[in-house]
Amino acid sequence: MTKRNMSLEKTPMPEQAPDARARNFKEVALGYADDQAEAEAARCLGCKNPPCVAGCPVNVKIPEFIALVAGGDFSGAAETVASSNSLPAICGRVCPQEKQCESFCVRGKKGESVAIGRLERFAADRMPARAAAGSGGAERSFAPAGRGAKERRVAVVGSGPSGLTCAGELAKLGYAVTVFEALHTPGGVLVYGIPEFRLPKDIVRREIANLEALGVEIITNVVVGRTLPLDGLLGDGGYSAVYVASGAGLPKFQQIPGENLNGVYSANEFLTRINLMRAYEFPKCDTPLRVGNTVAVVGGGNVAMDAARCALRVGARRVYIVYRRGEAELPARLEEIHHAREEGVVFKFLTAPTRLEGDENGFVRSMECQEMELGEPDASGRRRPVVKPGGVYTLDVSTVVVAIGNTPNPLIVSTTPGLASESWGGIIADDETGATNRPGVYAGGDAVTGAATVILAMGAGKKAAAAIDAYLAK
């Protein structure tokens, strides 16, 4: 038994220095070395009734895997994490642990919680890669090679975190699973949205290869609702159930004058050009990106932080986060805010853009801003920003990125007769099972909730897999 480490603080994780990393796309956080992981794992008290597990949407066996790390059994730790989490190397990097598992940690009552996220990442990175079965484009025969005791086939729409989790769980249960992806690369927001420096694409590829090794088949370049109708998958298509995890893909704009000027991007466009299409390697890669010296990113979530930090890395000299509420209300993960600030991103809190002005060629050149102050709490419980009298000024900008959220992509709902949805576009699905009003059709993740987090989407995928199993067992 290793000796318990009673340090009140987390073992720090090595990182690239801010001035160096703000100009490259390599991963910022470098991960624990073996001795650092063992030292941090020794901080865990191994609670009999671990409150951290209840704080995890997929109920990772936290004390068990941490005990294995503390004892030096890293591959055992990896297996333990993977038994309840289909994408552990990803969660260890992108989950808001401070709001989930770590917020319940007993050690956190006095000092810092155990660094569960960092340890999850450490364990997952020690997982030996399995041989992949291979995936491919649309135009080939579908032959999902389930490990399957069960002959029933299940289709999953979308290969983001929710779809992949559901597919992995179903494959483990023995179903033959086919995942249909609209883009040319699987991973959804993990590949088009979250940047390389926060979540290396090799990690995503490895996690997907692990699922393929379980027998999950992934078909890219299929837009369900266009290439194949959802109803065509059921019945004649040979699938007994469908899980819709098509994400929240439709970008919101502020509805202020000038948002269609050149140089104004939705965060989706800006991040997709950079992450999925590798525009930062232009002209070696063919997808262009135009970024000026001064970039204003509108919004305060993780996506806004990602966009701001990407802007620095593609050469912007000055990057603002323009956010209409205050610092305490920022929805982003603490680590992202901290990293953005270290790298030189300038935060303009209590500031709302009211108008964008362009030059004679239609390129944005300035942003009119309105200062705000906090009023009464709104429906979300956060204090509502209200206009501060006076307080109008102009910011010179050459690029604007609008990162104020996304709504569910309407494609599936609009092409699937009778599938019930909310007025704002979310598919109506049961919280516990993901069941929609259509028998055999389940849904979850951002397509149901609107834009949320990777781990919540994964939790929905996991629950839906169990519900689909129960449905097909009938």
């Binding site: 484009g137 135009e139 370049n221 837009v223 439709l250 050149n262 989706n268 299409m277």
Partner: protein, 281 residues
């Protein structure tokens, strides 16, 4: 991988490629498009579906060699493949219920207008087709268009076919002569579509245009293809590409089309240098 089953050079700057893509062919309708990526470093480029055959699984596109991506695509031969092809995307054109129509194509728009003309003609509408080329040598799809039009008018900017003028010249002539149309479908460069809309507005004829905006995903995700229609923000990829031309903000569409003009120039020149060792052709 998506194999090229047929390649045809229509004129020195225009190429037709037919792909083996049975899933797309089974669902494709006039007005829809595909997005294609040539290779691993390639960009995602939208192309309107020029023709498709659900029996053979063939889907064809016609494009003009304009930038680096289309150069790369045009360099492929029959039997070779592109890495990615996805579709059919966008809403299909709404062509039902018209008794008479004029289909106007300019430049490459002619290839895009062809499936619309055919659909209208096959639905029994009197279908006058007016197409324009810079010069007679660049004429494409003459026989195909002729087979699906009640009357085919070919205009040339330089008059080399004996019919000098723009497509609007021919359309105006017909309208002034008292020709009545339920609908005008105009597809081509933005200035041409705008000119047609300006003309038909005075006659109160419903006019459909097809917006060929810059896109990435083609499924509503990036918002790059946004256009203002009747004061509202629309995405050409999912709300279009067809829109009521009288409601389009063409001025905005024109500057948005030039968003990456400078980068496209850099890409073209860099790669020309790589290919020819510094000599530009």
């Amino acid at each position: 991988m998506y194999r090229i089953i047929k390649k045809k050079v229509l004129n020195p700057a225009t190429v037709m490629l037919e792909f083996d893509a049975p899933l797309i062919a089974r669902r494709a309708l006039p007005g829809q498009f595909v997005i294609l990526r040539v290779d691993e470093s390639g960009e995602r480029v939208p192309f309107t579906i020029a023709d498709s055959d659900s029996r053979t699984g063939a889907v064809s596109v016609i494009f003009q060699i304009a930038g680096y991506s289309t150069q790369k695509l045009a360099a492929l031969s029959q039997g070779e493949s592109v890495l990615d092809l996805v579709g059919p995307l966008g809403r299909a054109s709404e062509l039902d219920g018209y008794d008479s129509a004029a289909v106007i194509g300019g430049g490459l728009g002619i290839a895009i207008a062809y499936p619309q003309a055919r659909a209208l003609y096959e639905r029994g509408a009197k279908t006058d087709v007016i197409v324009g080329f810079r010069t007679q040598e660049l004429t494409i799809l003459r026989e195909e268009l002729s087979a699906v039009s009640s009357e085919l008018t070919i205009m040339t900017d330089d008059g080399s076919n004996g019919n000098k003028g723009f497509v609007t010249t021919a359309l105006e002539r017909k309208l002034e002569a008292g020709e009545k149309y339920d609908v005008v479908v105009a597809i081509g460069p933005l200035p041409m579509m705008k000119a047609v809309c300006d003309l038909t507005r005075g006659y109160g004829i419903r006019t459909i245009v097809s917006m060929n905006s810059v896109m990435i995903d083609g499924t509503g995700m990036c918002g790059c293809c946004r256009v203002t229609v009747d004061g509202e923000r629309k995405f050409a990829c999912v709300d279009g590409p067809d829109f009521d031309g009288h409601l389009i903000d063409f001025e905005e569409a024109a500057y948005r089309a030039r968003m990456f003009a400078e980068e496209e120039r850099v890409s073209r020149e860099t790669h020309v240098c790589n290919i020819t060792g510094g000599v530009r052709s």
